[in-house]
Structure formats: structure tokens, C-alpha cells
């Protein structure tokens, strides 16, 4: 399965809607979770005997708990408006990757067991029994949805296939059919505190190493504090930021921003992970348990603010759900948004002229920006609708001279997923990930050709890892993906920073650059 040879789709000159090719992705399934992955999450270790009945019961339970699910299952008119909106459909041409067809895998079972028409006239309304084959299709195709919500933008009723994928995954987990990648990771966070299973001492080591690196480079003692009681800010960031390229350059950027602004901050070894894979598997309980670690850390360390690093779905959970899951946050400083995104922090400081940049230090790059789906369509930044589009771009423009957006229908609310979100960032789904990246690769290719773009910036750990991996399939190189705060880190001039000959000139006019950006 994972080692199956597949062809990278060709980038098309004029993206047209592809013709259907039935079942070409039916073979794509992620590795199944073992009992040791499932049980810590409260799920049975393997397929339970009476799985059929348990599954139907769970479906009924979810419908009564989630209005969205109930309304979405009833309301689809099969207008077809969403059919060409999913990157997985565009990249694979498998009709079951059309959002409505993906929903229908669930809806046809819903109709059969829960609606009058489906009970008495199943053929007429396309209702079917829940059989092993159907379950198999569920496992394939609900793991070919990155829960990116693009379909929900274009549906006349806002039907969100992500909600249905989450429900389907929860039903599958409940009968013991879990996905290894997600469940293994969640069990690690429950046990250790982050996706990587990186224990406290290792974390301390890494952070100290970063302090040394930055001091060597700049001559400034920029701190990377861990578990510091009484710090103002608790930084919650995806664990990839602690070591992998280009993520770690982003972390260095946050540290420099905090340092320069004189904000005391700390990472927590108890909540050393921004990611919350509980969302991917649709499990409110797991999502809540993971979120509670953040509350516990904030209380224990006595911080005043919570700031999230660059991570897409984590920001969704933080912005949209954290207050619900782990609030109320009455013990934090109410003068700041709770929680706050690192881009909001940096943007605010730029506006207040608290940071100095030499934009020319990023002149070796021509940038474009990839809106991560969870930031774009499931959360916000700033105090106005659409701040999630404006703020990261303003941060880029304040730190770089060369920036070009990709074409209009592939950015902002219409952004295309990187192809690896929603719990699919695993090597056993490589074919899907490569094919799902197609629309984004086409849009990138276009700005590369038209504007000489050399790098794409993103604010999501999953996007960054995914692009680093799939770029080579499309003849880009893996280092063409960068963190937004990496750009900040490159261009920021710290107070007391060691002069480098080529910087002297510009350093006298950093203010000018800032004004231009504002």
C-alpha cells in the first residue's frame, strides 16, 4: 500500500475540472491503529464483535449532540456545487473524493437507519445498510479528507464535510477501527505532553542549544525559557518547532520578538504541544483532555497571557474552541485576547514601532504566502473579520521587500489545502498527499513563472512538513517552504546586535522600512 508506485500528477496549464475515474483511490488507506494506540484514548483495541450495532448507536448519539451533523445530513440537495472544490478530487479524480460523495458515504447509512424514506424506500433515495464494504469505504475515504472546509465555503448551506469526516472517524474509533497515525500521537500527548514524545530534559537541551546558536549568530543573549514560573506569556507551539527545519527558524523568530519587546515568556514541558489531534478524530473528550493540559500549565506557571506559535489546526482549536474546552480564562490578563496568535503579537508590535527590521536581509527571496485552511476558514486574527488574511501578510511585508500573492481563487477563504492536513500527514498516505497538493502546486508554479517567486511562507507546522516532503515530486526543492517568523528572524535587528559590515547602512534607517510597510 505505502510502497505502491504512483505517478505525480502533471501540472496543468489551465486547470479544468477533471473527468471522473471511479475507485482509483479505493486502495488508499492509512495504517490501522493497534490496541496500544486505541486504549489510552478510551477506544476498544480492535473491531468489536457487535460493531454494526455499536456504530449505528454511536451515529444516533452524535446526531443528537451535534446540530451541524444533523442539519448537514438532512439538507444536502445534491446541487453539485461542491463537487469540484476538493483538492483531493482535483488531484485524484476519484468521484468519492467529491465532498458531497464523501458525505454520501455516511449519509446513505444515516438515511437507511434514521429516516422514513431510507427505511421504506432505500433504492429510491440511495440508502444502504452498514456493511463491511461500506465500512471499508469509510476507512479509505474519510481518511482522504483533510477537514480543510473548502467545500463548506462553496455550499449554499455551508455543509461542512469536515464535520462529517470527524463524525465518521469517531464512529470508527468507537468500534475499534482507529487510524494509527492520529491515535498513536494522541496517546503520546496524554502520556508525555507532545506529539513527538519529547520528554522535559530533551526539551531543555534543545532550547539551550538554540540560545547558544542565537547568541553566536547575533551576539545577543536571547532566552528560550522552559517552565519559568511567573513569566508573562506561556508559549504553546507545535513540537516540530523545537527542532525541524524550517519550523525551528520560526521559533527563533518568536524568541527574538519577545526578547526585543521585553516580554517575559516560557514554554511548558507539561503542555509542550500546540497540536490537538483530538479534533482530527472528532473526539470532543480527547480534544478537551489535550486542551486541559494548557489550562493546567497556565495555572501552574502563573502566566498572564497565552500565545500560540505557527500551527494551523492548533490555532483553530485555540481560537475557536479553547474558551469552550478549557475556559473560562478569568485568571489571565483580560487586556489581551485569550489566546493570542504569535502573528497578532508581532503585528501589534510592528504597528507600535517596537521592532526594527532590515528588510533587505530577506532580499535573496521572492515570497508568496500559503493561507493554511484552519487559519483561513476556521479561525481569525485581530479584531476584524478577515484579519487572518491581513495580519500574516502584513508581517511578511514588514520584513521582506518582495511579495506576490498567488491567484485569487487559491488564497484566503478559497485557499487550497497543502494536502497533508486533518491527520493525514503520514508516510502511509504519501500517494494521497502528493496528489492532493496538485492545486496548490499549480498556483505556486504560476507565481514562480509570472513573478519569479522563490519561496512560499506558511504559518502551519503541518503545511510546512507537507510541502517540504511533496515539493520534490513537483520539481521544487524542500527548502522553498519557510516559516513566517523565519522571515521575521532574518530581518529583525535586535538592540545591541553585533554589527555586520553589510548591515551598517541599513541599520540607520530601519524606521523607514517599517513606515513603508504600514
Amino acid at each position: 500500500m505505502a510502497d505502491k508506485k504512483f505517478e505525480t500528477p502533471e501540472l496543468r496549464e489551465y486547470p479544468i475540472i477533471p473527468k471522473l475515474q471511479k475507485d482509483v483511490m479505493a486502495h488508499s488507506q492509512p495504517f490501522i491503529a493497534k490496541d496500544s494506540h486505541n486504549e489510552p484514548l478510551g477506544f476498544p483495541g480492535e473491531l468489536v464483535e457487535d460493531w454494526h450495532d455499536v456504530a449505528i448507536k454511536k451515529m444516533g448519539d452524535l446526531q443528537s449532540k451535534y446540530r451541524g451533523l444533523q442539519v448537514y445530513l438532512d439538507s444536502c440537495v445534491k446541487c453539485g456545487a461542491c463537487t469540484d472544490k476538493c483538492h483531493y478530487y482535483v488531484g485524484t479524480t476519484d468521484p468519492k473524493n467529491m465532498p458531497v460523495a464523501r458525505q454520501d458515504l455516511y449519509r446513505k447509512v444515516y438515511r437507511r437507519y434514521f429516516t422514513f424514506a431510507g427505511k421504506y424506500f432505500p433504492k429510491l433515495v440511495g440508502a444502504t445498510d452498514l456493511t463491511k464494504d461500506v465500512l471499508d469505504d469509510w476507512y479509505s475515504y474519510f481518511h482522504q479528507c483533510s477537514q480543510c472546509r473548502r467545500c463548506s465555503v462553496y455550499c449554499p448551506y455551508g455543509i461542512d464535510t469536515a464535520e462529517i469526516s470527524m463524525a465518521a472517524r469517531e464512529v470508527m474509533d468507537t468500534i475499534g477501527v482507529g487510524q494509527k497515525y492520529c491515535n498513536e500521537i494522541i496517546s503520546k500527548v496524554h502520556k508525555i505532553g507532545n506529539n513527538l514524545g519529547l520528554p522535559g530534559p530533551a526539551l531543555l537541551d534543545t532550547l539551550e542549544g538554540l540560545e547558544e546558536d542565537v547568541e553566536e549568530e547575533t551576539g545577543v543573549e536571547v532566552k528560550f525559557p522552559l517552565d519559568v514560573k511567573g513569566a508573562d506569556v506561556l508559549l504553546i507551539t507545535p513540537s516540530a518547532d523545537f527542532f525541524a527545519e524550517p519550523h525551528v527558524d520560526g521559533l527563533i523568530g518568536y524568541a527574538k520578538v519577545f526578547h526585543e519587546a521585553g516580554i517575559s515568556w516560557t514554554v511548558s514541558s507539561h503542555a509542550s504541544e500546540a497540536a490537538n489531534f483530538g479534533m482530527f478524530i472528532g473526539s470532543y473528550e480527547n480534544m478537551r483532555k489535550l486542551a486541559m493540559r494548557i489550562r493546567e500549565a497556565a495555572l501552574e506557571l502563573g502566566v498572564k497571557r497565552i500565545v500560540f506559535g505557527e500551527c494551523g489546526h492548533a490555532w483553530r482549536v485555540a481560537y475557536s474552541f479553547l474558551n469552550t474546552l478549557a475556559g473560562p480564562w478569568d485568571f489571565l490578563d483580560q487586556n489581551y485576547p485569550i489566546p493570542q496568535h504569535i502573528c497578532e503579537v508581532t503585528y501589534g508590535l510592528i504597528q507600535d514601532n517596537k521592532l526594527k527590521f532590515n528588510k533587505s536581509l530577506n532580499d535573496d527571496m521572492v515570497l508568496t504566502y500559503h493561507d493554511s485552511c484552519n487559519v483561513a476558514r476556521a479561525s481569525r486574527m485581530g479584531d476584524k473579520a478577515g484579519g487572518q488574511f491581513l495580519i500574516p501578510r502584513e508581517v511578511i511585508k514588514a520584513t521582506c521587500n518582495n511579495f506576490h500573492d498567488m491567484s485569487k481563487d487559491t488564497i484566503k477563504e478559497g485557499t487550497f489545502c497543502c494536502g497533508g492536513g486533518g491527520g493525514l500527514l503520514t508516510d502511509d498516505l504519501m500517494e494521497l498527499r502528493v496528489k492532493g497538493a496538485l492545486p496548490r502546486m499549480e498556483a505556486l508554479r504560476k507565481v514562480v513563472e509570472d513573478h519569479g517567486v522563490t519561496h512560499m511562507a506558511a504559518i502551519c507546522a503541518i503545511c510546512k512538513s507537507q510541502f517540504a516532503k511533496v515539493f520534490p515530486y513537483y520539481d521544487f526543492s524542500m527548502d522553498q517552504i519557510v516559516s513566517v517568523h523565519q522571515l521575521v528572524s532574518n530581518a529583525i535587528i535586535l538592540t545591541g546586535q553585533r554589527d555586520e559590515n553589510d548591515q551598517n547602512d541599513d541599520e540607520n534607517h530601519p524606521q523607514q522600512d517599517i513606515d513603508e510597510a504600514a
Binding site: 458531497v100 465555503v153 449554499p156
Partner: protein
């Protein structure tokens, strides 16, 4: 006055249809209303105030804004059909109120053109459903039949108002009679009777089919929620219970 068997039958069917429609729709609406939405999931960017939500929703209901973004062809036919349906339903009010309100009189001729819009819209939607491979793939027999049923209602209606004519006075007294539990005769006109019986079946089907999209839209959390998760804590009843342990 002698009431014909036909009139009794049609009357009985309409009472049944009305009951099923009202009961079915109200239970669905109550179900939607009583099912919590535990998480904030508006499709962003979303309005940050309740007034903003009303504005967003109005644009969806009146103009099909999201559909306009996604597919101009579907939008055109879909909107023509619904707008025509809306005009035509207003026009039909004249069968149920007496004396007829002034504005209902004014719109009579427009209502008539509404049926033409409905016809064009429905024919376009049905054609699209048949010729576009993606839409054909996602269609069940019921999706085609729904359009056929609506087309048949539209064409029988148009046949009467444009060519054959109907005894509208009797039709009106039949419906006023139904509403006052005083059954009157209905003209034994096959086109009229089939038009009415198809409308009755549409009412019966409504709460058990995808026609639930009409109430559904108003309850869709991705469209009706305010974007204020950070400012206002939002917790469902069942989720509150989790916090106790």
C-alpha cells in the same frame, strides 16, 4: 348542494397532506432547535455580531451568495427556479384569502411570469443533473424525480393559466371551504386535479426529503454562528456535564 366523491377525496388528501407537512416540519424544526452545537464552527471569515449574521443569512436566502461563488450556471437556474417559485406562491395567496389583499392583486401578472422562470430554472437544473458527469454521479432516483414532480406541477399550472383556463372561482371556494371546514365542490377538471394532487404529494414529501434544506439553512452552524469565540464562552449542556468530573 351535492358534494362529489372527487371533492371529498381531494379534500381528505389535502387535510392529510397539510397534517403531515405541518407535523413533519415542526418536529424537524424542533429537533434542529433542540440539538446543541457544542463548538463554534462558523465558516470564516464570519460576522462578529448578531446583526452581521442576519445580514450574511439574508444574502444566502435571497441571493444564494455561496452558490454564486461556486457555480454560476447552477446559481442561475437554481435562483430562477426559486425566485419564480416565490412569486408564484405569492400569487397563489389569492386562493386562500378573501377579500384579496391589495398587494396580492398587484403581483398577479408577475406571479404568472414566475412560472416561466420556474420552468426555465427546473429544466436547466434537470439538464445539468443529467449531462454533467459529477452531478449525475451524486444523484439518486429521488433527485431526478423531485425535479420531474416540480416540473409537472409547473407545467400543469402553466397549461391552466396560459391556455386552458380554470374555474378559479370554484377553486377558491374549495380552498376557503377547506380552511373553514365546510367542504365545497371542486371542478372535475383533470389538469386541475392532477396539479392539486401533485402539490399535496410535494407537501407530504417535504419534511422527509432534501427539501429540508429550506429550514436547514437557518440552523446551519457554519452560517448562523457569530464569530466571537474568544470573547464569549460557548458551552453545550452535554459538554458542561463533562466538566463535572
Amino acid at each position: 348542494m351535492q358534494i362529489s366523491i372527487l371533492s371529498f377525496t381531494v379534500a381528505a388528501i389535502f387535510y392529510l397532506a397539510f397534517f403531515v407537512f405541518a407535523y413533519g416540519l415542526i418536529s424537524k424544526i424542533l429537533q434542529y432547535k433542540n440539538t446543541p452545537a457544542p463548538l463554534k464552527i462558523p465558516t470564516m471569515p464570519a460576522p462578529t455580531t448578531q446583526a452581521g449574521v442576519v445580514f450574511r443569512m439574508s444574502k444566502e436566502v435571497v441571493f444564494f451568495e455561496s452558490l454564486f461563488k461556486s457555480s454560476k450556471v447552477t446559481w442561475l437556474f437554481g435562483w430562477l427556479f426559486h425566485f419564480g417559485l416565490f412569486l408564484d406562491m405569492l400569487r397563489h395567496l389569492r386562493y386562500f384569502i378573501d377579500p384579496i389583499w391589495f398587494w396580492v392583486l398587484i403581483i398577479q401578472p408577475f406571479g404568472k411570469y414566475g412560472s416561466i422562470l420556474m420552468f426555465i430554472g427546473l429544466a436547466g437544473l434537470l439538464t445539468r443533473r443529467i449531462i454533467v458527469d459529477r452531478v449525475r454521479y451524486i444523484s439518486s432516483p429521488s433527485d431526478h424525480l423531485m425535479l420531474v414532480l416540480l416540473l409537472s406541477i409547473t407545467t400543469t399550472g402553466m397549461a391552466m393559466s396560459f391556455y386552458l383556463g380554470a374555474d378559479v372561482i370554484s377553486v377558491k371556494s374549495f380552498f376557503i371551504g377547506l380552511m373553514t371546514f365546510n367542504i365545497q365542490n371542486i371542478p372535475s377538471d383533470p389538469v386541475l386535479v392532477s396539479h392539486l394532487l401533485m402539490v399535496a404529494s410535494l407537501m407530504i414529501i417535504f419534511p422527509y426529503s432534501k427539501l429540508l434544506h429550506a429550514p436547514g439553512l437557518f440552523f446551519s452552524p457554519s452560517r448562523n454562528q457569530v464569530d466571537n469565540a474568544r470573547e464569549k464562552r460557548h458551552v453545550a449542556k452535554w459538554a458542561e456535564d463533562l466538566e463535572k468530573n
